[in-house]
């Protein structure tokens, strides 16, 4: 798998994406595509870095909470509000199917994506800890993009390097 993963909302299905799925609302209306690229270079201007483990072209449909603060509203990743959101993610007794923070650079919080499935997904996503940092879009996502990732062990809230979206990544073993 590529070292980097990029996510973006786009109007049309991008031919260059490694995986993509239609976004919609709970009324059945479609609102573009959420696309993922596994590559080093940024594929589109609006793309943000994500934990590559969440991408699974065979993944089932899900409900997501997508936090994507506007460029003029970025907080630093180490802001205490973002730290506390990460603590609340770890404390959750029912972990999400997939979760990643989003990065726009090495120092700012570029948002988060949380995916859940099952009858209580909507209720649980309303408690997305990251929506206290920036507004969250609750949306449906069709099959073909998001998988299931084992939740982090805890209690580490730090990134494994400023270029690595939490909770993914690890430091290289000592050679």
């Amino acid at each position: 798998m590529s070292e980097r993963c990029w996510l973006a909302i786009v109007d049309e299905l991008p031919a260059s994406a490694d995986a993509a799925a239609r976004l919609g609302d709970r009324g059945g209306n479609k609102h573009g595509w959420l696309a993922a690229w596994l590559r080093a270079a940024k594929p589109v201007r609006s793309a943000r870095r994500a934990d590559p483990r969440i991408v699974d072209a065979d993944g089932d449909a899900a409900l997501i909470s997508l936090v994507m603060p506007a460029a003029d509203a970025f907080t630093i990743f180490d802001d205490t509000a973002v730290q506390q959101a990460r603590r609340r993610v770890l404390a959750d007794p029912e972990p999400a199917d997939a979760i990643t923070t989003l990065l726009v650079d090495g120092s700012h919080f570029g948002g988060s994506l949380t995916a859940r499935r099952g009858p209580d997904a909507a209720a649980r996503l309303r408690d997305d800890p990251f929506r206290l940092v920036a507004p969250a879009l609750i949306a449906t996502i069709e099959a073909g993009l998001l998988g299931v990732v084992s939740p982090p062990c805890g209690p580490v809230i730090e990134r494994h390097g400023s270029e690595v979206p939490w909770p993914g990544g690890q430091f290289p073993p000592r050679s």
Binding site: P93, P151, C153, G154, P155, V156, P173
Partner: protein
């Protein structure tokens, strides 16, 4: 088995507090890991020791150190205990006692609960035992200062940039 420093700890698989199957190696994920076995939520000694671990949690969360607690409590009981404590690490459940004898950690003096012997093991990311503490008697358990010393040694050994001036 005996839990001796330098020995390999088995990459056992158990169910976590949310009902997902997890392995110790996956949970370590490249970081040092503090593995605690405990009798059960009902034991006052465990409750006291967990209060110490909660203090360590505040440092482990920024020190790239994973914590795992393992007991015979079923997942739903472990989940409730975890939530009540305010723990943000993984609790594993072994209600069928699949691993307790292989690890040599059955507390044979308690024939009512048949729990895990209270033990604390510091593991490297490769699941080598760095240190192990028998907590049957409470003072056999490590102080948080002893754990800090252990974790310093493990981290120094595994992080190539420990001394950035070298």
């Amino acid at each position: 088995m005996r839990l001796e420093p330098g020995d390999a700890f088995p990459d056992l698989v158990a169910v976590d507090h949310a009902g997902r199957s997890r392995s110790i190696g996956e949970l370590a994920a490249g970081d040092p890991l503090v593995l605690q076995t405990y009798r059960g939520f009902w034991c006052p000694k465990e409750q006291a020791f967990f209060r110490s671990l909660l203090h360590l949690q505040e440092e482990a969360e920024v020190a790239y150190t994973s914590i795992v607690s393992l007991s015979v409590d079923p997942p739903e009981v472990a989940a409730a205990f975890r939530a009540g404590l305010g723990a943000r690490w993984t609790f594993l459940s072994d209600p069928e006692r699949e691993h307790i004898d292989a690890l040599g950690l059955r507390e044979t003096t308690d024939t009512v609960h048949n729990p895990y012997l209270p033990t604390l093991i510091v593991l490297t990311p490769g699941l080598e035992i760095h240190s192990a503490y028998n907590g049957y008697w409470y003072w056999g358990r490590p102080s948080m200062e002893e754990l800090r010393c252990d974790l310093r040694e493990v981290t120094r050994a595994i992080r190539s940039d420990w001394d950035i001036s070298q």
